[in-house]
């Protein structure tokens, strides 16, 4: 039985605004999950997380988040991450404003 490849992105919050950000290779951050770089390799995942954690004056609380890799870009696989990638459901105050 083949092991399904991992699909992850690195996510964190912006130090200044608190906004949810995603790592985009080689070393920039995007507020849009669809534009994040999808990581399918464990070593690359570790290295990418280490890179993010090495930017303490840009982002806070970096971690790896599971995604579903689709043609239009990655999509959150868990509802919590889906809310982080869009914004609250009561007002269009989050990324819905984009």
């Amino acid at each position: 039985m083949s092991v399904a490849a991992i699909s992850k992105v690195v996510t964190a919050n912006d130090l200044r605004s608190g906004e949810v950000l995603y790592l985009r290779f080689p070393h920039s951050w995007t507020p849009e999950l669809a534009k994040a770089s999808v990581i399918k390799d464990n070593d690359l995942a570790k290295a990418s997380l280490a890179f993010a954690q090495g930017q303490p004056n840009t982002v806070v609380g970096a971690y790896l988040s599971d995604v579903i890799d689709e043609r239009d870009g990655p999509r959150a696989s868990h509802f919590r991450e889906r809310f982080r990638s869009t914004g609250p459901s009561n007002y269009r105050h989050g990324k819905q404003e984009l």
Binding site: N13, L15, R16, S17, G18, E19, V20, P56, N57, V60, G61, H78, F79, R80, F83, R84, G87, P88, S89, N90, Y91, H93, G94
Partner: protein, 554 residues
Amino acid sequence: MYQYSRFDHEFTAERVAQFRAQVARRLDGSLTEEEFKPLRLMNGLYLQLHAYMLRVAIPYGTLNSRQMHQLAMIAERWDKGYGHFTTRQNIQFNWPKLEDVPDILQALADVEMHAIQTSGNTVRNVTADHFAGAAADELADPRPIAELIRQWSTDHPEFQFLPRKFKIAVTGSPNDRAVTRAHDIGLRMTEQDGQRGFEVIVGGGLGRTPMIGKTLSPFVALDDLLPYLEAVVSTYNLLGRRDNKYKARIKITTHEHGIEQIKQRVEAQFAKIKPRFAGANLQLLKDIEQHFALPKFKSSSAQVEADSAPAQSPAFRAWLYTNISAHKLPGYAIVSVSLKKPGATPGDASADQMRALAEIARNFGHDELRISHEQNVILPHVHRADLTQVFQALRQADLAAANIGLISDIIACPGMDYCALATARSIPVAQQIATRFQALKLEHDIGPLKLKISGCINACGHHHVGHIGILGLEKAGVESYQITLGGDGGAEAEIGTRAGPGFGADEIVPAIERLLLGYLQLRLDRNESFLEAYRRLGLAPFKALLYPQARKAA
């Protein structure tokens, strides 16, 4: 209301200056996040799901119009034009930028407000009966004591690193509107031999291990209260567990050691420290009491508008019926302003609404406002002759929902729409229940009902003490909602009983609808409330309503 002393002003100014420097050092890289986090939390600044969140204390829920105007200004200038009033009489701003927070704290200090100790393992914002100082049923205004506790606990050197957070609630009324039995310490004003004092309750709390507080002392004289509280918190500080955060609250300490042992330790500590309280605290209390003198009430002989209510519009009559409570003066009323218009986010007020509330309080309410733990705004002193104008002004601000105490007057925590700890959303569930029952036009028929929703086991939405409680959890990768029934946050506080398995996000509103349509059939008559019917009949018939499939299968 309380006016800051020179000491208060200097203290808050110093804290703002300190935090400004700390933020600057964080932004220039001199402080790591690990170093900075406890500093920002000491000032009420959290990092939530989408942004920073600033939690501002509204001590014992009391505000004046100037402060409410300032909250509106902050909401507009540094946030997204609104604020969220919480179940702990705080206001939360959901979108501040880190570099703006020192300016926000300065703006708060300018109107004698702060965000100190709204996080961390300290004594948190002291909450009180939201009708305090106005209620017809109270012995006396409990807010002077609450203010004394605020001053005593703020930056108290012994209590800055308690095993866990510590919440104190105070009431001056036998009808507990402050949920005192669900606090680390609950204080209920009482009298003994003509002397005023407090019943001291400890070890209440909700969260993952809900417990109803136990009476530590049925009567502590007013003069002894502060050293007694210090003895309680000091005992907890030494005895409380630091090895496991889930067992660190005083409710667990009390449970593990037993109330008698806690009592012995507290009394020994009290005897030891009492001589240190040589009277300065009592002088301070006397000074504080001056600040809480009653406003200059208008003559009660003016026309009493409510008496001619039948001649008024049905909307006004409905509002009078649900949103007015008895004031200690017959010519006056306590107005509860609902922040629960069906479809709205419970507890949210826009900057425009805050300004409207401030102006109404200034023009018709002796400049006083209160925030209730039920996430509504109270105008504690409105002359009955002004009720029509107050209603009209509230209506213009879209604040005239006539639903206090009804099913749509839902407590809901921010849930996973904002909170980093949440396991499911609360707000959409509250919105859907409120709009559904509005559409069914059954709210008034159902009558008094407290429905409370928490988006995680920490229970900020007080679901354990809701007549109907809803707890949002994650189950197999989706949101799942558990229902508890029969909880009560009043004088005879009770923790609700879990009814059964959880419901999916699309099943929870129909489940509540089945439950309440069934209650209408089960009740003896219109006078038997949901809670009374539940107490008479027990869980079984209500469970059958919630899980009709199980009944069929059986």
